[in-house]
Structures are given as C-alpha cells and as structure tokens.
Amino acid sequence: MKVLYYPGCTLKTSAKNFEDSAVASLKVLGVDLVELERWNCCGTVYSLASDDLMHKVAPIRNLIRVKEQSNGDDRVVTLCSMCYNTLKQANEFFKEDEESRDKINNFMDREIDYNGDVEVLHLLTLLKEEIGFDNIGKKVKNKLSNLKVASYYGCLLLRPQNSAIDNAENPTILEDLFTSLGIDTVDFPYKNECCGSYNTVNAVDLVVERTYKIINSARSFGANIIATSCPLCQFNLDRRQKDVKDKYYDFEEMPVVYFTQIMGRAFNVKRKSLGFDLNYIDPVPLLQENF
C-alpha cells in the first residue's frame, strides 16, 4: 500500500529519527510512505483569531499538493503532532466555513480550488484502522520484555475535539499499539497534559517544571521509558532533562523516544534507521537485547 506522507520541517532535522524509524517500520508492514512533493511549512500552530485567514494559506496549500499528487486516494499521513493538528484544523475549517473558503481560494488564484475533501490522518490512526493492531503484532521479532512504556500524548493529538485521534481525557491508542507489540505499558495522569510547548524558547524554567513533574509521575507509576509522537514534546521531555538535573539534584533521568523507534526495534529494523544517536538520554541500554 502506498500513502502520501507530509513530513514537515522538524522531521528533516532534529527529529530525523522519527521519520527514519517510521518509514522503516512501515516498510515491514507493507506500507510505502511516499513523501509529498513541493510541501511547505504548515505554520506549526493553527491561527485562532477569527479574522486571520492569511495563516490558513500555508496548511491549505499542502492539502492542494495532496489533491494534485494523490491519484484519487485523497489522504495524507503526518507523523508530527503539530503538523497533524494544523493541517487537520485548517481542513475542518475549510469544510465548515464556505465564505472564508471562497476568499482563500480566490486569493490563491494560481492553485486549484480546494473544498476540504482531503483526509488528514495521523500515523497512529492509519496503524489502528487500516493495518490493524493484530496484524502489527504478527510482525514482532523482538520481545522487548524489560520495557515499561509510559505513553505521552501531549495536547495536539487529542485536542481540540475536531482533530482528536482518540478520547481527550483517557486516550489509549498508544497503549493499544504497545500491547499489540507485546510490550508492558503504564498509565499515568500526565499523559494528556501540555509539556509547555514553545515556551521552551524563552521560558525554559516553565518547561523544566513540566518535564520534572511529567517524568517523575511516569516513574512513580513504574515506567522506565516514555514514548511520544511530537518532536516538540520529545525535545522538552528529553533534552530539557539536562536543565531539570541542574535544578533538582535528585532527579533521575529517563529516556524519551518516538513510538516508531520502539515499534522499529520490536520489528528488528536495522539500528541505523532508528537513529538513537539523536535521543539525548540514551535509550539503547533498555533496548539492548540482541542489538
């Protein structure tokens, strides 16, 4: 199966390991992620002001690229939670607000008219609904029996309601995936709370406090690794542990990886494709069996 895929900026740089591990794992599942041609930045955050149509142009332009390249299969898969949310919300807006849709279509006079009919999917939805967690379980080569994974959803996979891939208060899609891979999961109360997001640029202490709380909570419920789907959550929870350690001397570090890295390891994908060198806290000792 071939599916169009929108990477976004960060998957080409600091989250290259997210892209590589997803592409390699999906190959095992018989899915070819075909990168969208001529994609542009999605805008990262969805504009919420009622009169701000200009910032809808960037995400919509990507969806027009999908229309042009889809050969009838009008779907696009994203990995980054922020891209997913921005594209999805812009698409929902286009479906609902006819007047604004016309305005934006007229403004982009060199593009084909778009009416919101592309389906924006997160990879987790594709795994659950198209491939099926049962089938994913059949491909497991490594039993990662010493992992206790805490799934961290963050905000943008779950909220707002029109772009949620799962229940906003008690999501289980990541846990269900890990269970199908034969991996132990732990539930913890911070799994759907914000990590501080872009405050990491100019309010580092806020993110340090969030990271400290989130990781300590996961540990108190028995986790030894955290899995996420957002490159910004990953940065805040992983890289900012250095700053947490500077502030709280008794803090114990915990590796934070993308869910695709764990899936790839379970499928015994080549180590090079999993890119653990980009993770700040080294997860390799935990995943070492036959590595």
Partner: protein, 125 residues
C-alpha cells in the same frame, strides 16, 4: 473600554458573558502555577470591563493553546481563542512579547524548528 471588550469578543468569536466563573479552566490548566492571573480571572476582567488589565497579564503569553480548558469548559467557551485574541490585540500594536536576545546561546543550535516557528508566530508581531 467597551469597544475593546467587543473587539476581543469578535476576534475570539466567543460570548464572554457565558462564563459563570466555575474555575474548571484554571483547575485543569497545566501551566497555571506560572501565571499571574488565572484563566477564569482573565475572563472576569473582561466581563467587568477591565480589558487593559487582561492585556497586561503574563497568562496570555504562557498559554500555549493546549486546548485543555477548551475541551473541559462546561459553558462551551473556547478559552484558547480568547487568549489568542488578547495576544493579537497586543501584537497588532506592534509589541513583541518575545525578545530574540532572550534565547540562550546554547539553545540556538538545538531548538527544533517547530519550537521557534510556533514561538515567533504566537509572541512576535
């Protein structure tokens, strides 16, 4: 001041008077500890006609649009949009909240693009 409140209501598309001050937004907000004004207090300021105070608090900048309050509000108010409207009123006066000089030097090389783009989009004019 009534004009300013109307503008905020229009930019956010929200009925500010619908809020009955239950505080559920503030109870669920993960960043509330760093805020100098609780989210429900920000709305209260708008209800009683003190929008200039709402525009000055750090709450509107700390809010990173995680939508926790939005999905929980029993009155169906989208607080994320109110916070965005308050940011926008400031930014449209050409006032940057974020100063590039504030970025730590060692961070410039490691921050992911999505952090920088999102921050600039939300906090610079």
């Amino acid at each position: 001041m009534a004009e300013l409140v109307d503008k905020i209501s229009e930019l956010s598309g929200q009925n500010l008077d619908a809020c009955y001050q239950c505080g559920k937004c503030s109870g669920g907000c993960p960043s509330v500890a760093q805020m100098d004004m609780l989210p429900n207090q920000v709305i209260r300021l708008l209800q009683i006609g003190l929008p200039e105070l709402a525009l000055q608090c750090n709450t509107i900048w700390i809010c990173a649009s995680c939508y926790m309050c939005t999905v929980r509000c029993p009155r169906g108010i989208d607080l994320s949009k109110i916070m965005e409207a308050l940011r926008q009123v400031n930014l449209r006066e050409n006032l940057d909240y974020m100063k590039i000089k504030e970025i730590k030097e060692e961070d410039i090389f490691i921050l992911p693009q999505i952090a920088l783009v999102a921050n600039f989009r939300k906090q610079t004019a």
